[in-house]
């Protein structure tokens, strides 16, 4: 039993102390049984405090430590490492969550939050008092990573992992790689085109022996845990044999009677049920869209490479970690939101980009030459009433970048920006300044007085009360109104549901901590990269991809992982072998042992996963779980129940 416990109570800036009376918590716990040292700290996780703890432990001869701060999901590992550095066993450390389950959950009730925190800290002290020093268990980890998505983030992380010597399986839902970036032309800040970037990444991907790329593929099911995730992947056929640019294939596409909106061009153009990759997408091939093909057989008659006998395949892969880079969708404005779908010449920014990519000498829309473009910012983001409260971050720069590119390409264009405050942060400010120099006009409205799009006859006007000119009402006749739409979370990603990946308030996948653990999820071994995590520009996506690759690599690089030694143990004196624990164990970790006349159960340390399913079934209460013993749990209950 620990007799010299150190307790550190964190303010977390004001995250805890704004709602929990930290001084009161300190006063209540400093004289608890076994507490030799109690301190209040502004940021327990700060280097200075960690060093102080490292000094306190030997100086005060502490044998147990409690830090009362944020969720253990964030800093359990941090403080375990601190006590280890100071010479203690890491299981002599207990974490008390007084932020997520304390100050934040009860910030509507400060006295309740304080009372709650006092009990939680006392319970943690009771737990550490009874804690046993333990040694970690080592398990093998498959040196392979599954990357979900073959956009820029997915391919960049796959290349990094493969270069480090790790086997990588890329699973891409579409038949082509490239994601959103394949749709764009010149990109900030290098002026490389999306096509060039994708081509470079694709070549690096397919030329690396460590990478296996599955396109037209999706994860059907998963089982296992960190170190050994087993994924069942379905690969959908493209129904085309030798995918080359042949006359026959052109003919096959031409005779196909099905026409559907081409989503690559945001519906501006149509494609057939048999179609080729757009420039920017790779590999160069034709595929048949199984969902829309009616199997009329017209293409088969003119092209010998059509093969409807191809079947869906299911493959099983085993990986130590999964990196999710499933990308984003763009916001589709509601009917009549700033005239969208109602007024003819209202389009979105992604549509404008495709329009520019498809137009050469003049910018034309529906047969009309465009001269004045009005850009309306923050459509589908920073909404006062809608669901998307967040700033989509990339759109100001994307709109200004597109506007300046348009000016360069078509000299006669005038750009008018109807903003809610321009947020071209960092180096992106260069573009804002360039747009101003080129003569673009910027206006700004308040959040609650948005610009209006009006149609009079065959003319379209945008009206704004411009706060940059003392709320003067300005009205512009626009040939084209461009809604600068936000990034939104992508729907229908099977791994999100299969792994139950948590989402934040904005609906994007949620990391454990934006700054401290920015690519990890609460699901062990699953990392996230790029815009599936939130709006990012290309540079940020690539940084995130490399970070996620590094994290995933850390799970598999050594071929083994250290797991917590939380395993069951049997009191052989109390056990009479009834086989209830044997039946309850899902891992066959219980072994029947006979020693003379004594028959009892023994737990195999290497097989036990520490689930504890054997505990409640024992009629003699002869099984305990390390770190969750009767004494630890019941003393915690005593403390939580106390007045």
């Amino acid at each position: 039993m620990k007799k010299k416990i150190g307790v550190y109570i964190c303010h977390c800036g004001g995250n805890i102390s704004d709602y929990v009376d930290v001084e009161k918590v300190y006063a209540e716990v400093r004289n608890e049984k076994g507490v030799a040292l109690a301190k209040i700290t502004m940021f327990a996780c700060a280097d200075a405090n960690q060093k102080e703890m490292e000094a306190d432990i030997p100086e005060k001869d502490l044998d147990g430590v409690v830090v009362a701060s944020c969720s253990p999901q964030l800093h359990l590992t941090t403080f375990r490492a601190v006590v280890e550095r100071a010479g203690l066993n890491k299981y002599d450390y207990v974490h008390a969550n007084i932020r997520e389950q304390g100050s934040w959950a009860h910030s509507d009730n400060k006295s309740g939050a304080t009372e709650n925190a006092i009990h939680v800290v006392k319970a943690a002290i009771a737990k550490v008092r009874n804690a046993e020093s333990l040694e970690p268990i080592k398990i093998s980890s498959v040196k392979a990573v599954a990357v979900i998505g073959a956009g820029v983030s997915g391919m960049r992380s796959a290349i990094a992992l493969a270069k480090a010597g790790c086997k990588v399986y890329i699973i891409e839902r579409d038949h082509f790689v490239g994601g959103r970036v394949a749709q764009w032309e010149n990109l900030f800040s290098t002026n490389e085109t999306g096509e060039e970037i994708i081509k470079r990444l694709y070549n690096d991907t397919i030329n690396n022996d460590n990478i296996t790329l599955y396109t037209g593929a999706q994860v059907l099911s998963q089982s296992g845990n960190i170190g050994s995730y087993r994924l069942k992947v379905q690969i959908n056929p493209g129904f085309v044999r030798n995918s080359v640019y042949s006359y026959e294939m052109d003919e096959a596409i031409s005779v196909c009677p099905i026409k559907i909106p081409d989503l690559f061009n945001f519906g501006f153009t149509q494609r057939k049920a048999i179609y080729r990759n757009h420039s920017g997408q790779l590999p160069i091939m034709a595929v048949i869209d199984d969902e829309n093909c009616t199997r009329c057989g017209d293409c088969e008659k003119v092209c010998k490479d059509i093969d409807f006998s191809q079947q869906k395949k299911e493959i099983n892969i085993e990986v130590g970690s999964v990196l999710v880079a499933s990308g984003f969708d763009t916001y589709t404005p509601k009917n009549n939101e700033f005239g969208y779908c109602v007024i003819d010449n209202v389009i979105t920014l992604p549509q404008l980009k495709r329009l520019v990519a498809m137009s050469d000498r003049h910018l034309e829309y529906k047969g009309n030459r465009i001269k004045n473009i009005a850009y309306i910012y923050c459509v589908g983001s920073r909404q006062l009433d809608g669901e998307n409260k967040y700033c989509s971050r990339y759109c100001c720069t994307a709109a200004i970048h597109t506007a300046t590119e348009i000016r360069r390409k078509y000299k006669e264009i005038n750009n008018y920006h109807f903003t809610r405050g321009v947020r071209t942060y960092g180096k992106q400010e260069i573009y804002y300044s360039e747009a101003l120099k080129m003569g673009d006009v910027f206006m700004q409205s308040f959040d609650n007085e948005l610009p209006e799009v009006l149609q009079k006859g065959n003319k379209t006007f945008v009206k704004i009360k411009d706060i940059l000119t003392e709320q003067k009402e300005l009205k512009l006749q626009a040939d084209l109104v461009v809604l600068v739409t936000s990034m939104v979370p992508r729907d229908g990603i099977s791994v999100n549901d299969l792994f139950k990946l948590p989402k934040g308030r904005d609906g994007f996948l949620k990391e454990i901590h934006l700054k401290l653990r920015p690519v990890e999820t609460v699901i062990d071994g699953i990392t996230i990269a790029g815009c599936c995590q939130g709006p990012m520009n290309l540079t940020e996506s690539v940084n995130s991809a490399l970070s996620a690759a590094t994290k995933s690599y850390s799970y598999v690089s050594k071929g083994e992982l250290e797991l917590e030694p939380i395993i069951a143990k049997v009191d052989k004196e109390a056990c009479t072998w009834c086989d209830a624990c044997f039946k309850a164990c899902p891992f066959d970790a219980i072994i029947k042992v006979e020693e003379g006349f004594k028959v009892f159960a023994r737990v195999s340390d290497s097989i036990c996963k520490g689930c504890g399913m054997c505990l409640p079934v024992c009629p003699k209460d002869a099984i305990e779980l390390n770190s969750y013993t009767n004494r630890e749990i019941e003393e915690m209950i005593d403390m939580l129940a106390s007045d």
Binding site: N97, E100, Q101, A105, H106, D108, P502, L640
Partner: protein
């Protein structure tokens, strides 16, 4: 007492580190307030809760015990819900023998993103226990 004059109940939640803990943390993060008399003890799996711990909680003064079960998300075994359900049933029997209202023990599956469901459960359980006392 709460604003309606009902007693604020003391509720012990047996949560699980991988599944329901993230949901409970998220409830705090999203400021989805729930009663301050809710205390959480985390375990690796909801099928590991011993009936004696539940009964100990009542003995020491907890008004209610809630098992935030892993449900079908249990990383250990798909039989988790069934096993946790059996623990609840057995404890209900013991509670009846001890003249304790079995409704003071509740169980519901709380997945890693079920913060709203958790808060709803806590509020309704708190209301029930507050009215009963």
């Amino acid at each position: 007492m709460n604003e309606f004059g009902r007693k604020q109940a003391k509720i012990l939640v047996f949560s699980t580190e991988k599944i329901s803990d993230p949901a409970i943390d998220m409830a705090g993060l999203l400021k989805q307030y729930y009663p301050a008399g809710v205390y959480v003890i985390s375990l690796p799996c909801s099928s590991a809760v011993k009936p004696r711990w539940i009964l100990h909680a009542y003995e020491k003064g907890f008004d209610g015990v809630f098992i935030a079960a892993d449900g079908s998300d249990c990383p250990h075994d798909e039989s988790c819900t069934e096993k946790t359900g059996r623990i609840v049933m057995q404890t209900h029997e013991k509670m009846k023998e001890m003249n304790l209202d079995p409704a003071r023990l509740r169980m519901a599956a709380i997945c890693s993103v079920c913060s709203e469901a958790f808060v709803k459960q806590m509020k309704s359980f708190n209301d029930y226990l507050g009215n009963e006392s």
